[in-house]
Symmetry: C2
Subunit: 198 residues, 2 copies
C-alpha cells in the first residue's frame, strides 16, 4: 500500500495529548530545549509512539503549531542560486505562501500569536529554528550577527504579511508579487548579507 | 480656570454615541469620506456638539480609535532636518512611542486590528492619513508613488513593532533603540525617497 500523506492514523486522543504536551514544551523551553522524551513523558506515552505518529522533532513542531507549510520543502529553492539574489527569492517564496490557501492559516497564526503568549513563543521558535537559521546557515556571515540579521528579516516579512493580508493597506495589499519582490527584496538582502551596525 | 488636558467634560452617553458613530463612519468610508455632519446625524446630536467635545475631525478620529499619541505633535521633529535623515528620525520616533507607556496601547491596537476588521480599517486610515501622508507630503517625490512608498514604510514599522513588542524575537525585542535606528533607518529612507520599481 502506498504511504499516505496527510493526517496519519492513530488514536485521536493520544495524538492530541502528544500535541498538547509538545505545544507546552516548545513554548516553555524553545525548540532546542524541548525533547521528544520529555514530551512523551508529559503525554504519558512511549517516545517511540511520538516518532511513529509525527516523525522527527521538526515534524512534531510543525504539527504542534499547525504550520501550514514545511519550510524544509520551500527553502531549497531560496537557497539555490546566487547569494545576491537570496533576498528577492526569500520574499518571492514568502509572498507565494501567503498568497496561496496556506495564507489563511498564516493569518490565523498571526491572529493567535498577537493574542496569546504561547502562540507568540511558538511563532518565534518557528521563525528562528525552521526558517531563519536554515537560511542564514548557508550564508557566509559572522555568526555573532545571525540573531540580529534574522530578527530584522522577520520584522520586514511579518510586517509585509500584516499589511498585505491583515491591515490590507493599499497598494501593498493587492500589488503584483514581483512589485513587492523588487521593492522589499533589497531590504531583506541587506539584512541578510549587508553591512549592519552591530 | 486653566484649561484641562485629558478627558473633556460632557455627557458620557453622548460622548460614547458620537465615538461609536465616528468609528463606524471612519471604518466604512475612510477618514476622507467621513464627515462630522454625518457622524453627528448618526449619533443624533448637533454637529456643533461634536466639535465642542472633540475639536477637529483629526482629533475626533484619534479619540475614536483610542490612539495613544497624536502624530501631529510628534511628526514635526521627524520632518525637521535633512531629507536624508528622515528615515532614521522616523524609526527613532516610532521606537520612542512604542517603548513608552503608549506602547501598551499600541499593542492593544495591533491585537484588535488583527482580530477585528473594523479596527484594521481604522488602523489603516490612521497610518495613511495621520502619519504617512504627513511625512510624504514634505518630501519631493512623485505623487503617484506615494501610496506604495507609504505602505512599504508601514510594513517595516509595523513589523518592527510586532517583533519587538508582540512576538518578542531577540535581539530586536531588547536591542538598544539606536541599534535599530541604524539598522532599519536606511530601509525606511529608501522606501521614502529611494529608487523603487514602480
Amino acid at each position: 500500500m502506498a504511504r499516505r500523506t496527510g493526517r496519519r492514523p492513530g488514536n485521536p486522543d493520544t495524538r492530541e495529548a502528544i500535541l498538547g504536551a509538545a505545544r507546552a514544551a516548545f513554548a516553555e523551553r524553545g525548540f532546542d530545549g524541548a525533547s521528544i522524551r520529555a514530551i512523551a513523558a508529559a503525554a504519558q506515552v512511549d517516545p517511540a509512539l511520538v516518532h511513529h505518529y509525527f516523525g522527527s522533532k521538526d515534524q512534531l513542531f510543525l504539527a504542534a503549531m499547525n504550520a501550514p507549510v514545511d519550510p524544509r520543502e520551500l527553502l531549497p529553492k531560496v537557497l539555490a542560486g546566487d547569494r545576491d539574489g537570496i533576498g528577492e527569492r526569500l520574499v518571492r517564496m514568502f509572498l507565494g505562501v501567503w498568497d496561496s490557501p496556506a495564507g489563511t492559516a498564516g493569518v490565523a497564526l498571526l491572529r493567535s500569536a498577537v493574542s496569546n503568549e504561547w502562540t507568540a513563543r511558538l511563532l518565534r521558535e518557528f521563525l528562528v529554528t525552521q526558517v531563519l537559521r536554515r537560511v542564514l546557515d548557508q550564508l557566509d556571515v559572522d555568526p555573532a550577527e545571525l540573531p540580529l540579521r534574522g530578527s530584522l528579516v522577520a520584522s520586514q516579512l511579518i510586517g509585509l504579511a500584516m499589511m498585505r493580508h491583515v491591515v490590507r493597506l493599499e497598494p501593498v495589499a493587492s500589488a503584483a508579487p514581483e512589485t513587492l519582490v523588487a521593492a522589499v527584496g533589497p531590504t531583506v538582502q541587506r539584512y541578510l548579507t549587508g553591512d549592519l551596525p552591530v
